[in-house]
Symmetry: C2
Subunit: 428 residues, 2 copies
């Protein structure tokens, strides 16, 4: 294998023809594979099925702290669930509210609350002429969709190997008081899989925002989602870092068990300062009488504590690992020497981030789709769905089986080669 | 027993002294009873415990319509749950979205959505100078708390025996385009227990609102909550009435299983026109990937269909009936001839609405509290907590046992007599 850029025009032409033929063959197979979303596989979901037996009629529905989980009340969640979630992300339970089935609606509500009622008594964002959010890119499309819906101006910030470009973050946050937030997936980031370094977390906590109502939206979605026993990323606790830096109110941390127990039928949590919690509760008490405490208790009874969660996550890792490995092996073997793409090799999380040659991502995704392999839309990892380089593609290896994943990776690699070779040939 | 108003000053004085003595005795008992909220009792919650066994590891987690309830997706709820909830309130399943654990947050979201993004493309309410809601009174405090939080101006409308005063409703809705909504609990209303007559429902459906974005918030919370087998109120289906009147988009109907299965761990639903649903889904798709489908499926497996729900509700009625009967018997026997109060005798729902002599409600509630019987705060049934007559008290007989309820009713009646007699004496 030679780097594509070193090929002559004739060699490229021959290559294109050969790849085109292979592509026609693949299309003929009528594949139907989906690598679009970070969905757990059936095998992973089966891991938690015993949870359905754990809260049964013989169990006392009243928690050790005296709450009947079947009745109204407990706005901030049952104490035992707050302990569980706090333990999972390493914060005090007193800083935690446990909510409903997933964390996305909680993040949405947090933005909505700020938009409608402001942040801790500041002007509601809906009354401001402009509100900006910083968006490390590539990032999570559903984050960007929330701020887009609220008319927030999103500013892309390069996500480096150790976290967002903090010089740029500082520049915006400390000089522009219309910058009200930053979206972060600090561990096993969606989609690059990187984890913020201690230096970045400390720099984040030490920001001196121009806006009093600036908040870090710290989506710690993959806090316990390691892939390898011997390669685990560690993330500093942002809450205590912010507190030490005198910025106790600056961060909202989010997490859930959606990719631990059941996707969309888990429990979710927010961790933040006492002052922030008071503000949240003030509007929340009108919004709801309380979230589903029976499902909270079901999770408590099943996992018991953070160690229970971590032991469970090792089983998830065992299922996910071969899928990631198959994809990475295929990329290494087939693209390693071609010098037409780069990709991440994460230690955890749900994604591999793939950077194709500039201007190729959309076409690669289209070609894959034509051949029966669905990927996240190209551009989705950027605000407004606009990847300026048309380069980034998010690969989600979790849902198909390891065998299907290997097959899908083959198709993907073929499409990458084909689109890139054609582009190089046309531009020659 | 003589009517208090017919007593001489001396007789009233003696009566006050006698009641005061009885009150001191009662206080000495150190009671601790709660009739404040419409909470189901433990006995009622026990009725549904077998639901916890129904979705177990041996059950196929994939629904008959092919949805894995354990994974992401199905924004509008699983088809089977939509059928179930639609059947319960008598509307087509295609008009229904099934949500999470309770209906209050769905009503909140519906107001919030209108505030942030408008109604079907109309101006967001947050951009308007004034938004008004009509509030039939006495009504549900949590409804009023929602509109109060959004700065909506609430206009009290008398709730008559057959529904809101429709002349007044028409006057406001058809002439004032800042009137954007009306809160209704159309069946076994909270707190009066009345059900809107066919005439009222038809008049409601035939409104010609000045505002295009006027909506009826139809909280059908007690659709299947009959108390007596032989006295069941019937409510016309507002959706089809609105459709017939050419007002298909004018109503949002809400319901939940909170007082059917588990309070705060049930499932909830909204029924409305296809056009409204499209608008709801447009924002909802950013807010959430989907609600808890496992709990939706749990409810489907347990209740099977609307008949299953109705059979289950007969068991609730058997528990609730003696509580209501004890209270009403006590009122009849002890207040029946005194001419100092009126109260409702509902055929269903969760409340008895009590009207004391004007200017007495707050003091009665305070006296009860002092004697260990907690009631809903006086005024709570009016917008801003302000009952202009200081007369209405909401009685919630569901939570205490029938014996406790009889005891609490005795205390309440004593406080009513004492406060009223003193007031009459002082004003003489």
């Amino acid at each position: 294998m030679k780097a594509y850029k070193s090929l002559t025009k004739e060699e490229l032409k021959a290559l294109c023809e050969e790849l085109e033929k292979a592509y026609i063959d693949v299309k003929g197979k009528g594949l139907n594979l989906n690598m679009a979303r970070g969905k757990p596989s059936k095998e992973q979901l089966n891991l938690s099925m015993d949870m359905l037996n754990i809260y049964n009629p013989s169990v006392d529905p009243v928690t050790p702290t005296g709450v009947d989980t079947r009745n109204y009340g407990e706005l901030t969640g049952i104490a035992e669930a707050r302990e569980l979630m706090a333990g999972m992300i390493g914060v005090p339970a007193s800083n935690v509210i446990v909510f409903g089935n997933a964390s996305l609606p909680i993040m949405y509500d947090t933005v909505a609350r700020s938009y409608m009622f402001g942040v801790n008594g500041q002007t509601p964002w809906c009354k401001l002429d402009e509100v900006k959010f910083l968006c490390p890119v590539p990032g999570y499309d559903r984050h960007f969709a929330i701020t887009e819906q609220f008319g927030v101006k999103m500013i892309p910030i390069p996500l480096l190997a150790d976290g967002p470009d903090m010089d740029m973050v500082r520049e915006y946050v400390e000089k522009d008081d219309t910058v009200k937030g930053i979206w972060c997936v600090p561990k096993y980031a969606n989609p690059t899989g990187i984890t913020y370094s201690d230096k970045v977390v400390k720099a984040m906590a030490a920001l001196k925002p121009a806006a009093k109502d600036f908040r870090i939206f710290w989506d710690n979605a993959y806090a316990v989602h390691d892939l390898y026993e011997d390669k685990k990323d560690e993330l500093l606790d942002i809450l205590s870092e912010c507190k030490m830096a005198g910025n106790e109110n600056m961060v909202y941390e989010f997490c859930s068990t959606s990719k631990i127990s059941f996707a969309g039928a888990g429990i979710s949590a927010m961790a933040t300062s006492a002052e922030n919690l008071d503000w949240v509760k003030k509007t929340m008490t009108v919004q709801t009488i309380g979230y589903d405490k029976m499902n909270q208790y079901r999770h408590v009874l099943y996992f018991k504590n953070a160690d229970g969660i971590k032991a469970h996550m090792a089983k998830h890792a065992a299922i996910l690992r071969p899928k990631f490995d198959n994809v990475l092996k295929c990329f290494d073997e087939q693209l390693g020497e071609l010098d037409i793409a780069t990709w991440t090799k994460p230690n955890g999380g749900y994604f591999i981030s793939f950077n194709a040659m500039d201007g190729c991502a959309k076409e690669i995704v289209a070609k894959c789709k034509e051949a029966g392999v669905v990927l996240t839309g190209a551009g989705a990892t950027y605000p407004y769905g606009k990847d300026p380089k048309d380069s980034n593609i998010r690969i989600a290896p979790s849902f198909p089986s390891a065998e299907e994943m290997a097959q899908a990776a083959e198709v993907f690699v073929l499409c990458v080669k084909l689109v890139t070779a054609k582009k190089l040939y046309e531009n020659m």
